[in-house]
C-alpha cells in the first residue's frame, strides 16, 4: 500500500516537473481581460452573454500582436478597478479614460482611442446649446463613476445631475422623459441616436474634453506597478496602428478615426 502511494507521489511529482518545463518552453503569455458589456458600440453583451464590440476586437488584435492567450470576462463597472486590484484579472479594456484620479490607483497603457464627450437632448427640447448656462435648472443624466459624471458635477453644477449604473438606464429615462439631457461619449450617443431606441432624441453638440478630468483618452488598464504589461500593450497599440489592423477594426464600427490626434 505504502509502495503504491510512494509511486503515485513520484509520478505526480514528475508530471508536475514536466508541465512546469513545458510552460517555460512555450512562454505563452496568458491574460484575463475584463470589459463591462453595457457600453455599445465599444463593448456590449450578445444575446448569449458573450462580449463584443470595438474594445473586444481591439483587445483581441492586441493579444494577437503580443502572442498572448486572452480570455475575456465581463465585470460590473463600479467593481472594475477594485477587482483588478484584487487580481481577479490582468487588464481592463473597457473604454476606461486615463484620468488623474485613476492613475493614483492603477496604471494605463497609452490611449487606444480618444473621442470627445457630447450632450443629447429630446428632439422637442428647448435647450439651445451645450453650455452650462443653457442647461441650468435642467436634469442631466450620466453614467456614475465615469469621467463624464465627474465632468458634469464639476462644470454643470447648476443642473441636477442624475447618476445611473450603466448607459442603458439613462437612455431609458430620457426616452421616458424623466431627464432633460444626457452626457456621454459622442460615439456612444451617436450609435444610440441612430437606432430605434434613440429616436426620441438628438445630438445637441460635442464638448471640448478637459484634460484634467477626461485625460488623454481611453487606455488599457493594468494593476499599479505592472508597467511591463502596460508597455507591452502600448507597443502592441502602436504596432496595430502601423500595420493597418487598427484601421480595419475602426472602419468596421465607425465612419471617423476614433484614435484622435497623436499625443
Amino acid at each position: 500500500m505504502l509502495m503504491i502511494k510512494r509511486l503515485a507521489l513520484a509520478i505526480s511529482a514528475a508530471a508536475l516537473a514536466v508541465s512546469i518545463g513545458a510552460a517555460h518552453a512555450q512562454d505563452a503569455l496568458k491574460l484575463t481581460i475584463a470589459s463591462e458589456g453595457a457600453y455599445p458600440p465599444f463593448n456590449n453583451l450578445t444575446s448569449d452573454g458573450k462580449l463584443e464590440g470595438f474594445d473586444i476586437d481591439i483587445g483581441n488584435a492586441l493579444c494577437a500582436e503580443m502572442k498572448a492567450e486572452c480570455t475575456w470576462v465581463s465585470q460590473d463597472w463600479d467593481g472594475m478597478i477594485p477587482a483588478l486590484q484584487a487580481g481577479k484579472f490582468d487588464a481592463i479594456i473597457a473604454s476606461m479614460s486615463i484620468t488623474p484620479e485613476r492613475l493614483e490607483k492603477v496604471d494605463f497603457s497609452k490611449k487606444y482611442y480618444n473621442t470627445p464627450p457630447a450632450i443629447a437632448v429630446p428632439k422637442d427640447s428647448d435647450v439651445k446649446d451645450i453650455t452650462p448656462e443653457s442647461l441650468k435648472g435642467k436634469t442631466l443624466g450620466v453614467q456614475g463613476s465615469t469621467s463624464h459624471s465627474n465632468y458634469a458635477e464639476a462644470k454643470y453644477s447648476g443642473s441636477e445631475i442624475k447618476m445611473y449604473p450603466t448607459s442603458d438606464e439613462y437612455k431609458l429615462d430620457i426616452a421616458n422623459g424623466r431627464i432633460d439631457a444626457v452626457m456621454d461619449d459622442v460615439v456612444v450617443l451617436g450609435q444610440w441616436l441612430d437606432s430605434d431606441a434613440g429616436s426620441c432624441c438628438k445630438l445637441l453638440g460635442t464638448i471640448t474634453p478637459d484634460p484634467a478630468i477626461h485625460g488623454p483618452g481611453a487606455g488599457v488598464t493594468v494593476k499599479k506597478g505592472n508597467t511591463a504589461l502596460a508597455d507591452k500593450f502600448t507597443a502592441a497599440i502602436a504596432a496595430i496602428r502601423a500595420n493597418g489592423k487598427y484601421k480595419e477594426i475602426n472602419d468596421k464600427y465607425f465612419k471617423i478615426d476614433v484614435y484622435g490626434g497623436e499625443g
Binding site: I81, S145, K162, M163, E169, L172, N176
Partner: protein, 278 residues
C-alpha cells in the same frame, strides 16, 4: 427558649463550595470564539486608526449625512405608509368573504414572492414606459420622480409583510377572548380595538422591529434608480477613492442606526409588557 434558638443561627450562611469549573469542550470553544471576535474588533479599530484620513472624511462626510437623511426619510415614510395599507390587507386575509380574501392573498403572494429590486425597477422603468397613459390620468408628475417610485414600491412591499405580521398576531390571541367579550355584550369593533389589538401588538412588536431593520438594509438598492441614499453616496465615494474604508464607514452607520432602533424596541417592549411582570 425559642428566642435563643433563633439567635443561635449563624450570622453567615454557609453554602456548599461551588463545583469546580471544568474546561469542557464547549467552554474552550467559547473562550476561543470570544478571543477571535475581540481580535477582529481590535484589528478593525487599529485599521481605522491607521487608515484615518481626515481629508476623505471632510470631503465625503457631508454627502454621507445627506445620504443618511434620504435613507431615514424614505424608510420611515414607507414604513408608516405600509402600516396604513397593511390594515385593510390583513383584514382581507382574515375575511370570510372569498373575493376579499383572494385579493389580499394575491397581493401578499406577489409582494413577498418577488425581489424588492424587481419591484422597484417595475415601478420606475416599467411604468416609466407608459408615460402617455399616465399623463392622461394625471399621474405622471408622481411617477416622474424616482423618489416617489421608490416610496411606492417600498410601501407596497412592506405592507405585504406587515399585513402578515398583523394577521399572525391577531390570530395568536385566543378565541376565548372574543367569546368572553361577546358574552359581555361588547360589539365586535370595540372588542377588536380594546381587547384583541392591545394583546396582538405585544406579539407583533418584535416582528415589526425586524421588518423595519430589513427595510433599512433593503433600501440600499434605491441608488440604482438614481435616488442617492447612504449606500449610493458610499458607492460614489468608493468609486472616486477605491478605498474600502468607504464601505466600512457605511457599515458602521447602518449598525448604529439598527442599534438605536433595537434600543427603542427594547424600551417599547418593557413599556407594553409591564403588566405581565410579576
Amino acid at each position: 427558649m425559642t428566642d435563643s434558638f433563633l439567635n443561635a443561627r449563624p450570622s453567615t450562611i454557609v453554602r456548599p463550595p461551588a463545583p469546580p469549573k471544568k474546561w469542557t469542550r464547549g467552554r474552550v470553544g467559547g473562550h476561543f470564539l470570544v478571543g477571535l471576535w475581540a481580535t477582529l474588533l481590535i484589528g478593525l479599530v487599529v485599521y481605522l486608526y491607521s487608515a484615518w484620513n481626515i481629508e476623505l472624511i471632510q470631503k465625503y462626510g457631508p454627502s454621507y449625512l445627506e445620504g443618511l437623511k434620504t435613507t431615514i426619510g424614505l424608510v420611515s415614510s414607507s414604513i408608516l405608509l405600509g402600516a396604513l395599507i397593511s390594515v385593510p390587507v390583513a383584514l382581507g386575509r382574515m375575511s370570510k368573504n372569498r373575493i376579499a380574501s383572494a385579493i389580499a392573498y394575491a397581493y401578499v403572494y406577489f409582494f413577498r414572492g418577488t425581489p424588492l429590486i424587481a419591484q422597484v425597477f417595475l415601478f420606475y422603468y416599467g411604468l416609466g414606459s407608459f408615460r402617455p397613459q399616465l399623463e392622461a390620468v394625471g399621474l405622471w408628475t408622481f411617477f416622474r420622480e424616482a423618489w416617489y417610485c421608490a416610496l411606492l414600491a417600498f410601501s407596497l412591499n412592506t405592507a405585504a409583510y406587515q399585513a402578515e405580521i398583523l394577521r399572525g398576531a391577531v390570530r395568536s390571541v385566543p378565541l376565548g377572548q372574543w367569546e368572553g367579550a361577546a358574552s359581555l355584550g361588547i360589539s365586535k369593533v370595540v372588542t377588536f380595538w380594546k381587547v384583541i389589538l392591545p394583546q396582538a401588538l405585544i406579539v407583533a412588536l418584535r416582528p415589526y422591529g425586524n421588518e423595519i431593520i430589513l427595510m433599512i438594509k433593503g433600501s440600499a438598492i434605491v441608488a440604482l434608480i438614481t435616488v442617492y441614499d447612504l449606500m449610493g453616496y458610499t458607492r460614489l465615494a468608493y468609486s472616486r477613492t477605491f478605498d474600502f474604508q468607504a464601505y466600512l464607514w457605511a457599515a458602521i452607520i447602518y449598525l448604529i442606526l439598527v442599534e438605536i432602533l433595537r434600543h427603542i424596541w427594547d424600551w417599547l417592549e418593557r413599556r407594553l409588557t409591564r403588566h405581565l411582570i410579576r
